[in-house]
Symmetry: C2
Subunit: 190 residues, 2 copies
């Protein structure tokens, strides 16, 4: 099957005013997204943060649950958190999977709560691209914290997934990144 | 459209050893599930806890975001958290929607990570029951904290939804309740 990894991006992301910012690590993001990733068969969960102290925090969360007392208390959690790879930048995540250029170039797919320019891919089409019978380069699925991924990341993506909208259309569309990640994986691989 | 509410149950739920326990309120459960509920058009989000001090905590979370300084900082969050109704027991939630017996009796639907006895309803069938063209009594969808809803709650439900399983079947099936709630709503109303 085609390799599918995900990245939780803390920089570059937007704040409420649309400014580029760096957000803080949220403990439950790491747990929930690792559990979702493991449930749906993702290969790697990159936690991307440019600040060393924040990377240390993420690494300590991982180590507590995969090596420390957390593992003894809830062994299931270790299986999920083993997917976590703490990296300084998206470039580091790209390189770990094969790079953005050259013969092994990966595809980068973005998720967003609203249409942000560039062609949009439906979940049905994206799901087809990940069918067991289909081959292709590894896919790295990006999730933005704060108010979403930077416009540059979205513009440079190979695939921009459509926003998640419910059938009972409401004006409200503010899912947590933890919920959006779960829904995205279920739509792609559920 | 048919009314759909949800309840986050802190008692009666199971612990890892299968014993009946009461779990603690988790702040991000309240936020994430309220945001998911609002996005998909749910009518009410009952936070069920038998301990008064824990209900007070849940009510303070709601009030902070719907009345207090949280509302000024992130107005969108108020729209979600307005759905929260803090109750002492599931009976109180049942009564608020029309009761479990009589002409206005509601339906209770349960979610679970594994098949736990009793007939199972597929998501496709359940989705059909919530189609805009279908009429029916209100539905209360139950989500268990800890290691899941008590066997008695599951046994007495009108509908037991099938467990959530990914297409790339993995042995791992430990989604957070926040993620399971998001996926369930997307499957029913996405």
């Amino acid at each position: 099957v085609r390799r599918l990894a995900l990245a939780l991006v803390h920089y570059p992301v937007l704040d409420r005013e649309g400014e580029l910012v760096t957000t803080a690590i949220t403990n439950l993001d790491v747990h929930d997204m690792a559990r979702t990733a493991r449930t749906y068969g993702a290969s790697d969960f990159f936690v991307v943060h440019p600040v060393a102290a924040q990377r240390l925090l993420a690494q300590r969360i991982k180590d507590h649950w995969t090596l420390g007392s957390g593992k003894r208390r809830i062994p299931d959690r270790a299986i999920a958190l083993e997917l976590v790879r703490v990296v300084e930048s998206l470039d580091e995540a790209f390189a770990a999977l094969g790079g953005r250029t050259g013969p092994d170039a990966i595809e980068v797919w973005t998720t967003a709560a609203s249409v942000r320019g560039g062609a949009i891919t439906t979940y049905a089409d994206a799901r087809g691209c990940l069918a067991d019978s289909r081959e292709g380069p590894p896919v790295l699925l990006l999730f933005g914290t704060g108010w979403g991924l930077s416009p540059e990341l979205v513009a440079n993506a190979d695939v921009r997934l459509e926003p998640i909208v419910g059938r009972r259309a409401t004006a409200y569309n503010h899912l947590s990144v933890r919920a959006a990640c779960a829904i995205t994986f279920d739509r792609l691989l559920g």
